[in-house]
């Protein structure tokens, strides 16, 4: 059932991978999101990998995940009749999101000013790689290029190796989600004064916002951070953040401050199992760490911490991810398994909260399980509203129903290559 949260709102999604998550969030919140696709289909239908590694317009995993719950119509914006149809849709829409190169819609006679004259209520979000002002406003950016431009990529990877991306590209997801927030901000006053507006989202800036304020370091502390693999170099020395275990890896950090109790608790656990080296067992803890300090700094301090890391590494190698996770929870350690898709799918916490949702895909005669509600809302539950649409699946419903075109008119539009 459609969420009541935004029920009655309609978004036209003309974007590709740069904005797919925006429309997905709106669909999850109950808006009717109409994916306006060119006759050959949205570019996101071609993003690999594919279901069972068999390419197909409905089989891309990206498409199945981020276009879920949307409706699909085909519309050829290169034709004058297609542009007229879009204008008719705009008069009936509350939101529009797109990620065309700057000036593309204007060249088609469909720029914000034109659309706003047709529908002053319209909230129109344009997602860009680098904003609409600078020398790079017309630059192209694949996801990895945006990830690099915003500073996230420089900080990932090992010294002596190239900076590395995340294997599930992230930059445009941040930009899409930002477009959703900005559209909601604009929606709030619009529902009182009836006036929409134009939003420009800057993907580069969205990536900068993932850096945890590391970006202020060069200005305030005089230097910038280098990538260091699994180490964190916050203050006074580098500390290991990922340890190997019997069947994978676990994230753990030996440190003072917020990590002080957790560090002591793992030492206590090692002692219980006779795995604490004599020097560590005898000392009863790491003398260089304090509850108030994040890290210690002298050479002797660092040696002690290095030795402790080595001992913890030996200990963790005797444990599985699952054993470590159970003890992290029981002993209140600051740690977490480096979970993979199988671990997440089996997580009892997510099961207890009925997190994953299964939707039926009629065209593929298959059902798909996917992330569910991004938040649990007591009055207006949100979450996936259905499977991703097939190309033009809702042409009749939208053109016939919403625009009240006759069957004959729809047939003509199709014959003329407009839809």
């Amino acid at each position: 059932m459609r969420s009541e949260l935004l029920n009655g709102m309609r978004m036209l999604d003309l974007s590709d991978e740069r904005g797919a998550l925006c429309g997905k969030i709106f669909a999850d919140m109950g808006a009717e999101v109409i994916k306006v696709e060119p006759p050959q289909g949205c570019a996101t239908r071609k993003i690999p990998p594919f279901l069972d590694d068999e390419p197909g317009a409905d089989r891309g995993l990206y498409f199945l995940a981020y276009q879920a719950g949307k409706r699909s119509i085909t519309l050829n914006l290169e034709s004058a009749d297609g542009r007229d149809l879009l204008k008719q849709l705009v008069t009936r829409a509350d939101f529009l999101v797109e990620a065309f190169p700057l000036g593309h819609l204007e060249a088609l006679g469909l720029g914000y000013e034109t659309l706003a004259a047709l529908n002053p209520r319209l909230i129109h979000a344009t997602i860009t790689p680098f904003g609409d002002q600078g020398p790079g406003k017309d630059y192209k950016a694949a996801d990895i290029v945006s990830w690099a431009s915003g500073g996230a990529m420089f900080l990932m990877g090992q010294e002596g190796m190239p900076p590395v991306q995340m294997s599930v590209p992230q930059a445009w997801l941040h930009a899409g989600a930002e477009a959703a927030v900005a559209s909601m901000i604009a929606h709030y006053p619009r529902q009182v004064d009836g006036l929409g507006q134009h939003i420009v989202v800057n993907a580069q800036a969205c990536v900068v916002w993932t850096l945890m304020n590391e970006q202020a370091m060069p200005l305030l502390h005089g230097d910038y951070l280098r990538r260091s693999g699994v180490f964190t170099g916050a203050i006074g020395g580098r500390r290991k953040t990922v340890y190997q275990c019997r069947d994978g890896h676990v994230s753990f950090l030996i440190a003072g401050g917020a990590y002080f109790n957790s560090t002591n608790a793992v030492i206590a656990w090692m002692k219980e199992e006779g795995m604490a080296p004599d020097w560590l067992a005898a000392a009863g803890g790491l003398k260089t760490l304090t509850p108030s300090g994040f890290m210690a700094a002298s050479a002797a301090d660092l040696k002690e911490l290095d030795d402790a890391e080595e001992a913890v590494q030996r200990f963790f190698l005797t444990k599985t991810k699952k054993e470590l996770w159970q003890n992290i929870l029981k002993r209140r350690l600051f740690g977490a398994p480096v979970a993979n898709a199988a671990d997440i799918a089996a997580d009892p916490q997510l099961k207890a909260r009925d997190y994953f949702v299964t939707v039926d895909h009629a065209g593929l005669d298959r059902s798909f399980t996917m992330p569910g509600a991004f938040a649990k809302m007591s009055e207006t539950p949100v979450g996936p509203q259905g499977a991703a649409p097939q190309l033009g699946q809702h042409n009749h419903e939208i053109y016939g129903g919403l625009l009240e075109l006759s069957q004959n008119e729809i047939v003509e539009l199709r014959a003329a290559g407009v839809i």
Binding site: S149, H174, Y355, F356, K376
Partner: protein, 405 residues
């Protein structure tokens, strides 16, 4: 009257660290009156973390805290004291929204859980955000976004090989969840305006963040495939990766390049002066088949070029490319500059300080960093006077008793 979207919206904000404060920052920068309630006994952990003004630690000297708390007012209450909780409850009718990000038992122990608050303020909207949600066996798990990034799969899909994950920098999931939380919160405000109904938003950082790995999870449930790291490899682009350019002033510089088709490949070669290349690289299939050799070739071609100059040349030829920027580069970036991204605000104790601006711009009701972050308790007197009509003498007495600061 202010024309900002959330003018007149009142928020009592108990959140700390990143997810909550970045969420309420969206409201504050767009006009809501957000009162950050902090305890001097247990201040926001970001106040204890660098970067510091002039590299000097201090409770009011952290840019980490400051950047996430613009446009808000600061009230310092020691919530462990019953009188502080009484003051909070007196303020409650003023609020439209209460936000918090403790582990679930904290507010229950204070008697300030949603049900208790709703009894006083029936149309309250409340956002609770913690690691794993308010229910379930792991609800009391404490942690930070770096651990959550491991638990929710981001570490596993990062790096060159499964032998050694190369995690994303920092508390990555802290910067996914706020956008989802802000959408939920603003939509809840709109829903309340339409229906008169408040509601409770139980936001698990875990559950929001998994949306950024949705294709991987759809794949696993459908086919059982467990995705691992693939380095900089792509199934859409070749070449695709980061390539080392000429060093500048002793600093290594890299460029990210993604070539989508054969036309772009020819354009790239043209920019490089058409060096002799293996003919098999002329097609996408050929480039896919030997990515390692292709990366070596591109690496050799760009090694003597300047990252900035090469970016301009490749982009002019229609190839997607940009320098792999370090945190210093970001401050010299012409595109961020043109967007007006960096802003200097005059903080009460830190003086002029560098803040990140908004990631978007609006044509009619532009948001703004309306004021720098508050020092601890900077607005205690002002807020208690304004909202509760508290007299200065009473405030002084409460300060002596260390109920407020």
């Amino acid at each position: 009257m202010s024309c900002l979207p959330f003018a007149g919206i009142h928020v009592l904000d108990f959140t700390w660290y990143a997810v909550g404060p970045v969420t309420t920052k969206y409201l504050a920068d767009y006009g809501a009156d957000v009162v950050r309630i902090e305890s001097a006994a247990r201040p926001d952990g970001l106040r204890l973390a660098p970067p510091w003004k002039d590299a000097q630690p201090g409770i009011n000297n952290s840019q980490f805290f400051a950047s996430f708390n613009t446009s808000k007012r600061g009230l310092a209450l020691d919530m462990s004291k019953p009188r502080a909780r009484e003051i909070f409850l007196k303020m409650l009718p003023w609020a439209d929204v209460v936000t918090e990000s403790f582990t679930p038992k904290t507010l229950r122990n204070w008697g300030l859980d949603f049900d208790s608050l709703r009894a006083i303020k029936p149309d309250l909207i409340m956002l609770s955000t913690c690691m794993q949600g308010q229910t379930g066996p792991h609800r009391d798990y404490p942690g930070f976004g770096n651990l959550m990034a491991a638990l929710s799969g981001f570490y596993h899909v990062s790096g060159y090989s499964e032998a050694e994950p190369c995690p994303p920098y920092g508390a990555y999931t802290d910067f996914i969840a706020p956008r989802f939380a802000a959408c939920a919160l603003i939509a809840a405000l709109d829903y309340r305006r339409r229906t008169g109904k408040g509601q409770y938003i139980d936001m698990a950082q875990y559950e929001a963040s998994l949306h950024n790995l949705a294709p991987m999870l759809v794949d696993y449930f459908a086919t059982g495939r467990v995705l691992g790291p693939v380095g900089n490899r792509s199934e859409r682009y070749a070449p695709h990766g980061a390539y080392r350019c000429a060093d500048e002033d002793g600093h290594e510089r890299w460029i990210a390049i993604a070539v989508a088709d054969d036309r772009e490949w020819r354009a790239l070669l043209e920019v490089m002066g058409n060096p002799p290349t293996d003919a098999r690289f002329a097609t996408m299939l050929g480039r896919f088949r030997d990515r390692a050799a292709l990366d070596d070739l591109v690496g050799a071609m760009v090694r003597t070029r300047g990252a900035d100059e090469l970016t301009a040349a490749l982009q002019a030829a229609g190839v997607s490319a940009y320098p792999v920027q370090n945190c210093m580069d970001l401050h010299r970036d012409e595109n961020l500059e043109a967007f007006g991204f960096w802003q200097w605000l005059d903080h009460k104790e830190m003086g002029p300080s560098p803040y990140e601006g908004l990631e978007h711009r609006m044509s009619r009701t532009p948001g703004a960093l309306r004021r720098p972050a508050p020092t601890l308790g900077q607005h205690s007197d002002e807020v208690l006077g304004e909202i509760l009509g508290m007299e200065p003498a009473e405030i002084e007495e409460l300060k002596r008793e260390k109920v407020i600061y």
